[in-house]
Amino acid sequence: MEKKKLQYALIGGFILLIVVLFPLVSNNFIIRFGTDILMFAIMASAWNIIGGYTGYASFGNVVFFGIGGYITAILMEKAGMHFAVAYLAAGFGAALFAVLIGLPVLRLHGHYFAIATLGVAEAMKALVQNLEITEGNSGIYLPMLDLSIKGQYYFFFYMMLGTLILTLLLTYLVLNAKLGYSLIAIREDEDAANSVGINTTLSKTIAFALSGFFTGLAGSIYAYQQAFLKPGPAFSVQTTVKMIVMAVFGGMGKLFGPLIGAFSIEIISETLSNYFLVAHTLFFGTVVILAIVFTPKGLIDMITQRKFGISYFLENIREHRI
């Protein structure tokens, strides 16, 4: 047991070291590509808290991303604040919003919850499109980061990396605390969890707020990196779908699942679009379908179980009766 732990720690530390040193030996585009992977890893991991552990499939998580981005844009552009302030405000603002809408919306279950969260994101998009302070549908500029080109790439990469580590660390702590067990209990059977004295409303709301907090932080860094924000892309349903696909692909309800999902999905999609200018979306869709059919528990299951091969795939299919 001790040996195994040591082994994991070694592998983990080594991977982290590679990731930290990686920008120093890469060209700018590869760093940017890495930054995008980290961003989606944050968002997929944040979705995992509410979708994977708590079992509430939120289809509106992009709303926190958009809110984080817009809080950053408004504070920096209109109020002239420093990014550090805007970054924190984005996280806490998104978390506050999660609490406010979570109280009514988290009473819903299953499909109803999914549809309600989808509606929240769309409504927020419409609101932002029509507000004066967000400069409506034509979009809002942010001040550009005043560093050398290389410096800018390092800044955004390490901001995303730091935020991802924070996300995973806090999720890990939550999982090993009472809250984590409450969440899993809610996922397995909410009524039973309620009857044994778990304050399900409180637990769910905290989970939703945490999910919003980290997604908001990602949105904040994204907005500063792009230096321009528009309601359509900032509140795009596609972004939510991407978070979910990554989480499922990598392994829902596992700490490192979404991270692995984000990494592999982005690499696959990038490689495909390198080779097929138009058909890449078709192939990408096929890959995702195959993955869901053969490894419904996600890539992480394959990695941790050290199983790979026909028998593993067949076992999965039998188990899930596809």
Binding site: I11, G139, Y141, M144, Q226, K230, G232, T281
Partner: protein, 408 residues
């Protein structure tokens, strides 16, 4: 020991994978020396893919035409043009990422723009960061040019300039009309048109007697028309959509409102509009930044008509202003590179800024902020057909309007 062995094996496979992934990018980089690479991340898929295709077709056609006719001459050397494309999936995040890839990995010399303003802005910021000039034909929003970005040039005219040629035309009439009514639908584009027109009209000394907004898809214009009748304005300018233009014209006739000139942004140039209104469409003015009926002396092609013919033969559809704008983008690059006599990005940027080039799209000249100077023209319906009447039109404008009652 076993653990260490297994670890090493894992790492070996890990490195192998990472190495494979990283090496993918390097296969495509064997380019010959005499090629100028233009980078373009544009929509092949996603919401903007239909219009994105119009630009790609134009970019390709212009490049083909240049390469066929001797390429681009820089000093004593000739270069062929080549476009490196990526599909941005109509997503601004992807688009800006691919622009970074074009610059950092594909080492393109210059950039062509994507389609739609919302995607152009993040892309233009990357161009600015790397100081690589980008010419775009697909973003008209003033926002793109509002931040003093010196590396972005756009060939779609600003919405606010749409009626500029019409206002200039008014000045040539005798007597010069004095009062103007501006009506506009409440969508974003028309609001920009109206705001710009009001400002221009005031600068040119006209009296904007009526400035009124109506709801998009409005069908009843009687209250607005009554106001126009009461104010007796000389000129009525309408920024709206085809249906609204139709309704407005019909009701103007019913209520016998007779301004000396009516001009509309959308409608008059469409065949449907003229068919539906029949004789009542006569003498109505329109504006367009470009249409297939125009005839400008070209740079890559002999003239607009020649271009339209060749384009139709090649792609089997009628080019519209998107296509023409795309052709102009590539033409401006060729002209600017040759004038700069170098592939140096700063020199070419300066050359682009001082462009004055006749293309099938019209004369391309950029304002201080990088956007093309308004090139819209005034059109008029005469004898059931639409003609360019100002500037240098095929026919002379008929002014003032014969009143509804006196028409046959």
């Amino acid at each position: 020991m076993i653990i260490m062995k297994r670890l090493l094996k894992n790492f070996f496979y890990g490195f192998l994978t990472i190495g494979l992934v990283l090496s993918f990018g390097h296969f495509a980089q064997a380019a010959s020396k005499s090629v100028i690479k233009l980078g373009c991340a544009i929509s092949f898929t996603g919401g903007e893919s239909r219009t994105g295709k119009l630009y790609r077709d134009s970019y390709d056609m212009a490049v083909e035409q240049i390469n066929k006719n001797g390429g681009v001459k820089v000093g004593n050397q000739t270069y062929q043009l080549k476009i490196v494309y990526y599909d941005d999936e109509s997503d601004p995040t992807k688009s800006s990422k691919f622009v970074e890839k074009l610059i950092a990995e594909d080492k393109v010399n210059f950039l062509l723009g994507p389609y739609s303003s919302g995607i152009t802005i993040p892309d233009s910021l990357v161009a600015q960061r790397y100081k690589v000039p980008m010419i775009e034909g697909g973003g008209a929003s003033g926002k793109i040019f509002s931040r003093g970005n010196k590396y972005i040039f756009g060939t779609l005219p600003p919405a606010g300039q749409y009626f500029k040629s019409t206002l200039e035309m008014l000045k040539t009439f005798n007597p010069v009309p004095k009062t103007i009514a501006i009506l506009y639908s409440d969508d974003k584009f028309d609001i920009s048109v109206a705001e710009g027109t009001e400002k221009l009209a005031k600068e040119m000394g006209f009296d904007v007697a009526l400035y009124e907004k109506y709801a998009e898809r409005a069908t009843d214009f009687s209250s607005i028309l009554t106001k126009i009748k009461a104010l007796n304005t000389d000129v009525v300018l309408v920024a709206g959509h085809t249906e609204e233009s139709l309704n407005f014209t019909q009701q103007a006739k019913e209520l016998n409102v007779n301004p000396k000139l009516i001009s509309m942004t959308v409608g008059p140039s469409e065949a449907d509009f003229r068919k539906s209104l029949g004789k009542d469409a006569e003498y109505i003015f329109g504006v367009a930044s470009w249409s297939t009926q125009m005839n400008f002396k070209g740079y890559l092609f002999k003239d607009t008509q020649e271009f339209v013919k060749e384009f139709k033969a090649k792609y089997n559809y009628d080019p519209d202003y998107h296509n023409a704008s795309g052709i102009a983008d590539v033409a401006v690059f060729k002209d600017a590179i040759e004038r700069a006599g170098s592939l140096n990005k700063e020199k070419v940027r300066a050359a682009i800024a001082s462009t004055k080039l006749d293309t099938i799209y019209g004369t391309v000249e950029f304002s201080e902020n990088g956007q093309i100077k308004g090139t819209s023209v005034a059109l008029q319906i005469l004898g059931g057909e639409i003609y360019q009447v100002y500037p240098n039109g095929a026919k002379k404008p008929v002014y003032p309007f014969p009143s509804w009652k006196t028409r046959k």
